[in-house]
């Protein structure tokens, strides 16, 4: 319970950086922190006390308690999506820097409203 709330606080820190920071790279960092918090949330949800890692071997066969493997599969996908979005974001930042010579969002505002 407490640890889930701590994870949500981590999510909100990332959200804060993404929304309020003026520096483009800081926004990317905020997005990264949000992704971490989301991935962790899935895994925390799937955790079972005394559970084992969901990998079988000859001396660890069916019948023991395992942690939930499904959220792990989802998070694997989610990490990849986060990586893809971040790479695209960084490349946009580099292009914007090349056009405007700064990472400051306030100096980049050309479009109104």
């Amino acid at each position: 319970m407490i640890i889930l709330l701590m994870d949500i606080v981590l999510f909100l820190i990332g959200f804060y950086a993404l929304v309020t920071k003026r520096n483009l790279i800081k926004k990317v960092i905020g997005f990264g922190i949000m992704e971490y918090a989301l991935n962790l949330f899935f895994i925390l949800v799937g955790y079972r006390v005394e559970g084992q890692a969901p990998i079988l071997s000859q001396n660890n066969l069916i019948g023991d308690i395992f942690v939930d493997p499904l959220p792990q599969a989802l998070v694997l996908t989610s990490i990849v999506i986060g990586l893809g979005v971040t790479a695209l974001m960084v490349s946009l930042c580099i292009r914007l820097y090349q056009r405007y010579g700064t990472f400051d969002i306030d100096q980049i505002r050309r479009l109104k409203g």
Binding site: L18, L38, F41, P71, I81, G84, L88, L92, R99
Partner: protein, 498 residues
């Protein structure tokens, strides 16, 4: 039944092979993408005409619903598939000539095909996490396509879109995490049957609904969350503006939201009221902001917000008539708003500007664009024989029938303002004659004309033959939403593992 695979596999196949084809055979790019989209729209039409045993559930990898991912083909998803593939066909035809203005066309076509695959995947998916993944494919390809010209404004608009889009995705994903924690399943049918046991006003369900409304609301650009749309839609290349306004905000915004809220959560009084309010605000604010615009495409973008408001107002009523009106308007709006964006693209292609004050008297020099844009403008403002009229009429009647007189009156008022706004556009672009600028006007190539004429014909056809369209397409789709959660539970019992 295996034929459904085509809707996702064919565009993906094209997307993966276009980078290779593009190296050896430049003109082949146009041919391949046109062929793929044409085939897909033929498939969609075939399914609409000959499908008699809907709904169908297709278990991928032969794992029945709660275990694996399953595709769901019912009247609603079939309807969305038809809209998506038809519009993409025309957009792809238009791109053949229009995208000659940009470098490296093969990347454009690859991203377009990926976007198409994403849209089809969202519509077909019966699994909530899978829906999220395909939503991300669509979103990422649209971020890249908005910035395709790599000019300063395009990059800025794309960055803004990207920041808001990733916030939306994060909210949706955290909603999915909460749902998984609560139900321990990802399949939407199974989820509906688990959630049937808990009351609709339990804190977790309300929280998840709020997250989904915010997340999908940003994707659909409902008004408090609309900040990205007026930048992103106008700065993109014209065919992409048409895709974004015509399809993307509807599929990954409205369709996904409505599918989850109606069929998984089953609509309740709270979400219905919230959606109705958001729809009303979007309808009004969008059109008010559109009045003051002098940029052709920006004006159209604000009108998109307003028309999205109409659709949400209709659907959120939850009555069969309201939902049918909303879905019908969704179809019509896809057709005429794509057409309008293509018109704006042609005007920009021919004259090099989209400032309404600088344009004048193009009626003689661009007859094709002028006539098709006339038809589209009349449609969007709801002039009787054309398609926009019928759907707006149905929505307004449904609003009055449900006792929402304020929203009904608002819808009529917004319709009138829309008409005025488009009269302004027609007058400034095509019929005002202050000085002839014919010397610099570039001729519109054949494929662009063909695409615009095709969409205009579609506009008229839907308007004239609205009765069969309603009976064959819209009403069965609306029925799916009216049945609510019970429909998914029934599907689980029919196709489920045990």
């Amino acid at each position: 039944m295996n034929a459904i695979v085509v809707f996702v596999a064919l565009p993906l196949f094209a997307a993966f092979s276009l980078p290779i084809i593009g190296r050896f055979w430049k003109r082949g790019l146009d041919a391949v993408s046109l062929l793929v989209t044409a085939l897909l729209s033929l498939c969609a039409i075939y399914f609409v005409i000959f499908s008699n045993s809907l709904p169908q559930v297709y278990p991928i990898g032969f794992w029945p619903p709660p275990l694996g991912i399953s595709w769901l083909l019912d009247s609603l998803s079939l309807f969305m598939l038809l809209v998506i593939n038809l519009i993409t066909f025309f957009v792809s035809m238009y791109s053949i000539n229009y995208m000659e203005q940009y470098t490296s066309k093969w990347r454009y076509y690859t991203l377009l095909m990926l976007m198409l695959a994403g849209l089809n995947g969202v519509v077909l998916s019966g699994d909530i996490f899978n829906l999220y993944i395909f939503l991300e494919i669509t979103a990422i390809s649209s971020y890249a396509l908005v910035a395709f010209g790599t000019g300063a404004e395009e990059l800025e608009a794309s960055f803004k879109y990207m920041v808001l889009g990733s916030i939306a995705s994060a909210f949706i994903l955290i909603g999915i995490a909460f749902l998984y924690a609560k139900t321990s399943t990802l399949n939407m049918f199974d989820m509906a049957s688990v959630l049937a046991g808990s009351p609709f006003n339990s804190a977790s369900l309300l929280f998840v609904s709020a997250l989904f409304i915010t997340g999908f609301g940003i994707k659909a650009a409902l008004v408090p969350f609309h900040a990205w749309l007026p930048d992103a839609h106008p700065t993109a290349p014209a065919p992409i503006s048409a895709m974004l306004s015509g399809l993307v905000i509807k599929t990954i915004g409205i369709y996904a939201l409505v599918r989850i809220l109606f069929n998984v959560f089953s609509l309740n009084i709270i979400t219905s009221e919230i959606l109705l309010t958001l729809g009303g605000i979007s309808m009004f604010v969008g059109v008010i902001l559109a009045i003051g615009q002098w940029d052709f495409k920006r004006l159209l973008a604000y009108h998109s917000i307003s028309q999205i408001g109409y659709i949400i107002c209709g659907i959120s009523l939850g009555t069969p008539l309201g939902i049918a009106g909303g879905l019908f308007h969704l179809f019509n709006h896809s057709v005429f708003k794509s057409l309008l964006f293509l018109n704006a693209g042609s005007v920009e292609y021919a004259t090099g500007t989209r400032d309404l004050k600088k344009l004048s008297g193009l009626q003689e020099s661009m007859p094709c664009t002028s006539w098709t844009s006339m038809i589209a403008s009349l449609s969007i403002s709801g002039v009787p024989p054309l398609c926009g009229f019928w759907s707006k009429l149905i929505i307004i009647v449904a609003l009055f029938q449900a006792g929402k007189f304020f929203y009904g009156a608002l819808a009529i008022l917004v319709g009138i303002i829309t008409l005025a706004s488009f009269l302004k556009v027609q007058k400034y672009v095509f019929y005002r004659e202050i000085e002839k600028i014919t010397s610099k006007i570039r001729k519109i190539p054949a494929f662009m004309c063909l695409a615009m004429v095709g969409l205009a014909v579609l506009c008229i056809l839907i308007g004239v033959g609205f009765k069969p369209v309603l009976n064959k397409l819209i009403n069965p789709a609306a029925e799916v939403l009216v049945k609510g959660r019970g429909y998914f539970i029934e599907l689980l019992n029919t196709y489920g593992a045990n």
